[in-house]
């Protein structure tokens, strides 16, 4: 819009009027002033903990990219918002597993790509899925697609996904998550397959209108979208790393939705500003204390057992997570197949038993180093562990590392104890993958190696019987605990707040499904 300025002289009285009005506006609480300006717009403002990295699903780095991809692209199926893990049809009008290795699908006939790249066809599905597993693509998301052999195109909008072997996570990870995004074959080919931060064609209910690095990503309603209309005209996604900052922005009315820190949960339980609400969701992350089984100081199984029994998990969680989380029983969170009802060693410390085990181990003057990230949550947890282990006579030196040095711990041969936390997708296959013998020297920092565990990891993802599959993963976690290399701590939690103008649509782990956000 072009603004036309008229040359009006500003007299003293006029200046004073303007200054008074400005002053009155400035004296409004920040939230009110901002909300007053934004009250009649249809822009949803949400916080992301990181900035967008890639608009190519093959190179997506995770949640921060997926929040955008899930809004501007389509998948055969999407996660269903709610408290239970489930999926719903998206670009597909039909998906049917005809046998353990063949999945038939048919696409809707009303989805098209922008920039003149035409209707979405089965060829686009074939292109999108096969390029994820192609060696030439070198996609970090290749494991998500599992044992995909190829996609057979049987019609313009029909096809069959063919697997080399049964793959249960297809329904929980491959199709509804990062690797399941369908891109335009023609658009990607026109770019020689190289798509970085600008999408050559989109198909979702939103289009990416702009991206200002480290500032914001703006999505706007796709005018050609024929599916159910999204509630918001625009979505602004603001990358804010720090939760304190995000909370202040939310309370000032600058954000409609954000994850908040666990330390603020108690405060928000007493009331959320701007008429909003607090929602508490469980998380899939898992945090644990690991012990390097290859380290000379940790060869004695009774010493490791003594450490397991001496760590009082509830105290660690009270101090480091403000008591807002529950103890975990392993690496698979409640709600997922394979979650254990209880761990073999109770979360509460048993100092008598720990001292007895230490005496039986014959180890004296035990001094160990505990590596941890330089985040307050972890350093706090480490100090509680340090204090509790001191009660049975084990001296712990807390070694705080910045993220670069910490995540290179696989190469640290002197690694002894480590406080760690991994992210997770909603399938147990993703959890056991990092603790196999093959992962020693990569992500398996405890150097845990067990043939039965490896066998379970290799076979459980093929199991279609849910009970049998659950039993296998429960056994896998028993083996981890029996090794003495792990003291499981928590799956953490995902507390989020939203303003009264928004009705969020969230996955069961509290992550946002922006395209389904409604107005409050």
């Amino acid at each position: 819009m072009k603004l036309h300025w008229s040359r009006t002289a500003v007299g003293r009285r006029g200046f004073l009027k303007g200054a008074t009005a400005l002053g009155a506006a400035a004296s409004l609480p920040g939230g009110m002033a901002t909300r007053a300006a934004a009250a009649d717009d249809s822009t949803l403002r949400v916080r992301a903990y990181g900035d967008m990295q890639s608009m190519d699903p093959a190179y997506s780095v995770g949640v921060t990219d997926e929040e955008i991809h899930a809004s501007v692209y389509n998948k055969l199926v999407q996660y269903k918002p709610g408290r239970e893990w489930d999926w719903q049809l998206d670009a597909a009008s039909m998906v049917e597993q005809v046998d353990p290795t063949h999945i038939k699908f048919a696409l809707r006939d009303d989805i098209g790509f922008t920039n003149g790249f035409g209707a979405m066809t089965a060829e686009d599905v074939k292109f999108s899925f096969e390029r994820i597993v192609a060696d030439a693509t070198e996609s970090p998301n290749k494991p998500d697609m599992g044992p995909l052999r190829h996609v057979e195109v049987t019609g313009e909008r029909e096809g069959t996904i063919v697997l080399n072997e049964p793959f249960a996570p297809l329904w929980s990870i491959a199709l509804p998550y990062i690797a399941g995004n369908i891109v335009s074959r023609a658009a990607w080919s026109a770019n020689d397959g190289k798509v970085t931060t600008t999408p050559p064609a989109e198909s979702g209910p939103y289009l990416r209108a702009s991206w200002s690095p480290k500032e914001k990503t703006v999505l706007k309603r796709n005018p050609d979208w024929r599916g159910e209309a999204p509630a918001w005209d625009n979505i602004e996604i603001l990358p804010i790393d720090d939760e304190n900052t995000a909370e202040i922005a939310f309370e000032a009315g600058e954000l409609d939705f954000t994850r908040v820190s666990l330390g603020s949960v108690a405060r928000y339980r007493d009331g959320v500003p701007n008429g909003g609400a607090l929602l508490e969701y469980p998380s899939l992350y898992y945090a644990w204390l690991g012990m390097n089984l290859d380290h000379p100081k940790l060869q004695n199984p009774k010493l490791r057992a003594a450490i397991q029994h001496a760590i009082d998990v509830p105290t660690v969680l009270e101090a480091a997570y403000f008591g807002a989380v529950e103890p975990s029983t392993g690496i698979i969170a409640p709600g997922l197949v394979g979650n254990r009802a209880a761990s073999k060693i109770p979360p509460e410390a048993d100092f008598t038993k720990a001292a007895q085990l230490l005496a039986e181990s014959g180890e004296t003057n035990v001094t160990l180093k505990l590596d941890t990230l330089n985040k307050t949550t972890f350093t706090t947890a480490a100090q509680v562990i340090q204090a509790t282990l001191a009660t049975i006579g084990i001296t712990v030196e807390v070694n705080v590392l910045e993220s670069g040095a910490f995540w290179a711990s696989a190469e640290n041969e002197d690694l002894q104890l480590v406080l760690n936390r991994f992210s997770m997708t909603p399938d147990p296959y993703y959890a056991t993958a990092w603790f196999t013998t093959e992962q020693v020297g990569h992500w398996n920092w405890e150097r845990f190696s067990n043939p039965e565990f490896d066998q379970i990891h290799q076979s459980a993802f093929k199991e279609s019987d849910l009970d049998k599959r659950a039993a296998l993963y429960q056994r896998a976690q028993d083996l981890m605990e029996d090794s003495g290399a792990y003291r499981f701590l928590t799956h953490e939690a995902t507390p989020v707040v939203h303003s009264s103008r928004v009705m969020p649509a969230l996955r069961p782990d509290g992550l946002a499904l922006l395209r389904y956000f409604e107005k409050g």
């Binding site: 330390g263 105290t315 009270e318 949550t377 706090t380 509680v384 204090a387 070694n399 910045e402």
Partner: protein
């Protein structure tokens, strides 16, 4: 006779510092900080490392003067003990840097030209690294500890002292009393030790007083990044770090971490400036 002269000069400097109002304030603060550091183990109301999870994140009270942190530890006690850590890093680091820097600087200024060029090249190379980045790199390589911080500060500060000592030495090496000593057959090491060192140490002492707050801030910065002293050792930077993370739960932590850094920095700066004016009144006149 030399001792009497020295005492008289010291008294003059002290009197000049005390006459300067800001210098006086600085001296009081420095004395308080040093006293806190020296007597902290005896004056802290609580064990600074004793955890009491039930009492975590409490506000100020008679029991806990500045409240408690996320582990229920007394913030006031940790703040007092933090003074000890700050000076434990700052004093040996700055003193070590001054001694080594003075020695190398005098050698560079008095020795042959090739040695001067070589030492200057080394000093300039070290100075070309940004201190914080250099500190982060060293900590990442050898791991965080009190000794690592001292070592990093010492290494990065040596060139500054060396350059000042070199300049002072170069300006004095043609002085009459040095020429006279040379004519009398006095050896170079003896000239450096007896004639040049006493005339250099005063300037470096002023520099040292001015450097202490920088080092305190550097240690706090490293601890703020979680790369300074190891937990549970209380340090002002660690208090700041936890305070920043918990600012919405308890603002007292960040006050307990930030205030002593500000006060100590001001104190040493006021004292250092007054000391500089007293040692070299021409500087004051020139201002």
């Amino acid at each position: 006779m030399t001792v009497l002269k020295s005492q008289s000069r010291s008294s003059q400097i002290l009197r000049a510092v005390l006459r300067d109002r800001l210098g006086m304030v600085g001296l009081v603060i420095v004395t308080l900080v040093v006293a806190c550091a020296l007597f902290a183990p005896w004056i802290v109301p609580h064990d600074p490392n004793a955890m009491n999870i039930q009492d975590r994140l409490q506000g100020p009270s008679l029991q806990y003067l500045l409240g408690t942190d996320q582990l229920g530890r007394d913030i006031f006690s940790r703040m007092l003990m933090g003074a000890q850590i700050a000076l434990k890093v700052a004093l040996p680091a700055v003193f070590g840097a001054m001694v080594i820097g003075m020695l190398l600087g005098m050698i560079a200024g008095f020795g042959p030209e090739w040695l001067d060029s070589l030492l200057m090249l080394v000093f300039d190379t070290i100075r070309s690294f940004p201190t914080v980045m250099f500190a982060l790199a060293v900590v990442a390589l050898v791991g965080p500890s009190l000794n690592t911080v001292i070592l990093v500060v010492m290494l990065t500060s040596i060139p500054t002292y060396a350059r000042v000592a070199r300049t002072q030495t170069m300006s004095l090496r043609s002085a009459d009393f040095v020429m006279a000593a040379r004519a009398a057959g006095t050896s170079s090491p003896r000239i450096l030790a007896i004639h040049l060192a006493p005339n250099t140490v005063g300037v470096l002492a002023v520099l040292m007083a001015m450097d202490i707050p920088t080092v305190v801030a550097l240690e706090a910065g490293l601890s703020f990044l979680g790369l300074g002293v190891k937990p549970p050792t209380p340090s002002w930077g660690a208090l700041l770090k936890d305070g920043y993370a918990l600012i919405r739960q308890t603002p007292w932590l960040i006050v307990a971490g930030g205030l002593p850094i500000i006060v100590t920095t001001l104190g040493f700066t006021f004292f250092g400036e007054a000391l500089r004016d007293a040692v070299d009144p021409k500087v004051k006149k020139g201002r």
